[in-house]
């Protein structure tokens, strides 16, 4: 019977991504429940240094490929590794790259797939997942059907697990079994256009100040940036603000943007459309500032302030500074 828990661990710029650290912690937790070991399937620039994932919770690591090739080019190596390891579950980040690899595994190996899920555990040797469906109106608990092949492929939302701090140890590293890259190996990056200015990774932010159409312009984001700075947070946006070109698309929160789970989300000039809501509804605390008393966000915010963001936000920044004495 399979008991090990595998995870897809993406590396970039020589170090494990945030999702790899979260999933290593998650796989370690599930491995304790199943009595097995957490095994990282590492890919991307720096993946040969996967031994470092030992401190993050992985007992072993298999290197699928180093280098900056598109994640999906590692699909055949991932499939060969999964066949050899025969784990109970493979945890994948619900990111575009994570989903591409997970999807390839589902297709290549004919596996049950779950998610994106907000919780997963092993109960009596079975994988159980918890998922918010139908725009968050229903929570479903699912498991592999009787007799379904293993492993279960589980897509995890960001921040479902918290990276292990101050861990130690190193993972035993092995190369993936030989495989032909096949059709997926023909996918190539032909142009790379990095942004001129650094863009925050919203999935790592514990505080997010998000702006929407009500912010009115790119310049309108300046007071939001100042508030984010005094709170120690990052700036996010609705699709309307990203579509208008006021901020880069990487800052979009929602169904087709990032799914975030910060300790505090502050929505400024955002109406709270369902497609936005599904990206931020698991924030621990939601503060909304909107001049329309009937804005839908007023129905699910924890604190709903009816007012003009251009008056409230600068005053709020000033008051926080005053109380902090800065």
């Amino acid at each position: 019977m399979s008991i090990d828990i595998a995870l897809l661990a993406e590396f970039s710029d020589g170090s494990p991504s945030r999702s790899a650290l979260e999933l290593a912690a998650g796989a370690a937790e599930l491995a304790r429940q199943s009595g097995g070991a957490a095994v990282a399937l590492a890919y991307g620039p720096g993946a040969t240094g996967a031994a470092s994932l030992g401190a993050a919770g992985a007992a072993r690591a298999v290197v699928l490929g180093d280098g900056a090739a598109p994640a999906v080019t590692h699909a055949m190596a991932a499939s060969a590794a999964v066949r050899e390891l025969a784990p109970l579950a493979v945890l994948a980040p619900a990111t575009p790259n994570g989903r591409d690899l997970a999807a390839a595994l589902v297709g290549l190996l004919g596996l049950p797939a779950f998610g994106p899920v907000r919780a997963v555990r092993i109960e009596g040797g079975r994988v159980r997942t918890e998922q918010a469906t139908l725009q968050g109106t229903v929570i479903t608990v699912s498991e592999p059907a009787e007799g379904a092949p293993e492993p279960a492929i589980v897509l995890l939302l960001p921040s479902t697990f918290t990276p292990i701090e101050g861990g130690s140890g190193s993972a035993a590293v092995a190369q993936a079994p030989d495989s032909q890259p096949g059709a997926f190996g023909t996918v190539r990056i032909v142009e790379s256009h990095p942004a001129e200015a650094a863009v925050a990774n919203l999935e790592e932010a514990t505080i997010i100040v998000a702006g929407g159409r009500g912010v009115g312009s790119a310049e309108g984001f300046a007071p939001l940036r100042e508030l984010a700075a005094v709170l120690g947070g990052a700036v996010g946006a609705s699709r309307a603000a990203a579509d208008a070109g006021w901020v880069p698309y990487q800052l979009q929160i929602g169904q087709t943007g990032k799914v975030v789970k910060p300790a505090l989300y502050v929505g400024c000039g955002i109406s709270g459309a369902i497609q936005h809501r599904v990206g931020m509804q698991t924030a621990e605390n939601v503060l909304a500032i909107n001049k329309d008393p009937d804005a839908p966000i007023g129905e699910f915010a924890d604190l709903f302030v009816v007012g003009d963001l251009f008056i409230i936000v600068p005053k709020l920044t000033a008051e926080i500074r005053r109380r902090k004495g800065i």
């Binding site: 970039s12 699909a75 575009p96 989903r99 591409d100 997970a102 999807a103 390839a104 589902v106 297709g107 290549l108 004919g110 596996l111 049950p112 797939a113 469906t133 139908l134 725009q135 109106t137 929570i139 479903t140 608990v141 699912s142 498991e143 059907a145 279960a152 059709a183 997926f184 023909t186 996918v187 190539r188 032909v190 142009e191 790379s192 256009h193 990095p194 863009v199 990774n201 709170l231 699709r239 880069p248 698309y249 990487q250 169904q255 087709t256 369902i274 503060l287 007023g298 129905e299 924890d302 604190l303 709903f304 302030v305 007012g307 008056i311 409230i312 709020l316 008051e319 926080i320 109380r323």
Partner: protein, 261 residues
């Protein structure tokens, strides 16, 4: 150059949704629409056809018989013909079974590009495009904010952590596009009339040379419980106050939650 858009009929985002006794979505109870993200794939396909990069645009859907309505609506936006794969054995199909069936149908249709949306509103896995590519043994170009065809290559623009890449693969490919490709067009009255005369075929599993056994019961997963999310405490409203009073209330609220010191 032939392109097939795969689209799914889903309950409308705003429609009231219900679960049946066996915890499946009660599709009959909800208003059905084309999966909103698939409309962007349709839009991308029609733009490629209009620019001359693609000659023929077909639509393919797997689902209950009423999914023919979604295909008819797509045909009203444009394109040439449509195929519906429908079979009682497909009820409750999961990502793998869906991909297996779509892959078999695409083997028949043999397009240069099979184009999909980035996710379905109900399943939300974004797994079908990659799984179809894997089953068919063709490259995957996913999450394109634009799709182009250049000679024997397909290319997508894809967001990265801070900017974007251009990613390419040789045809035939499976591709998926995001909602950044451009707003989907509305069907015109003329389009709706024209759609009535466009050919639509219906295939069963047997027509594809597949049996219910090949699909291992349509789903490798099962829902064992469905419930309402935990109720949140009611919203505290701050209104009819001066801006200074409102700000004091906000900072007290933040401090009580240890979000500011």
């Amino acid at each position: 150059m032939k392109l097939v858009v795969c689209l799914k009929q889903v309950p409308a985002t705003t429609a009231e949704k219900r679960y049946t006794a066996d915890l499946r979505l009660d599709r009959a109870a909800a208003e059905a629409v084309i999966n909103p993200l698939d409309e962007y794939a349709i839009e991308q396909a029609l733009r490629l056809q209009e620019s001359g990069a693609v000659d023929a645009v077909s639509f393919l859907s797997m689902g209950p018989e009423q999914s023919a309505e979604a295909l008819r609506r797509a045909l009203a936006m444009g394109g040439d013909d449509a195929t519906l794969v429908t079979d009682p054995a497909l009820a409750g199909a999961d990502a793998w079974a869906t991909a297996r069936v779509l892959a078999a149908a695409l083997d028949r249709l043999a397009p240069d590009v099979a184009l999909m949306g980035m996710a379905s509103d109900d399943a939300r896995g974004s797994l079908v495009p990659g799984a179809v590519a894997a089953i068919r043994g063709v490259p995957l170009l996913s999450y394109g904010s634009e799709l182009r065809i250049e000679g024997s290559m397909a290319r997508v623009r894809r967001l990265t952590a801070s900017g974007f890449n251009v990613v390419e693969a040789p045809l035939p490919v499976v591709a998926s596009v995001t909602d950044q490709v451009g707003e989907p067009r509305y069907a015109s009255l003329k389009g709706i009339m024209a759609a009535k005369r466009k050919p639509m075929e219906t295939w069963s599993l047997a027509d594809l040379g597949l049996s219910a056994a090949d699909l291992r019961g349509a789903a490798l997963t099962r829902v064992i419980e469905a419930r309402k999310p935990e109720a949140k405490p009611p919203t505290e409203r701050v209104e009819n106050m001066s801006p200074d009073e409102a700000v004091t209330r906000i900072v007290d609220w933040l401090a009580a939650r240890k979000l500011v010191s």
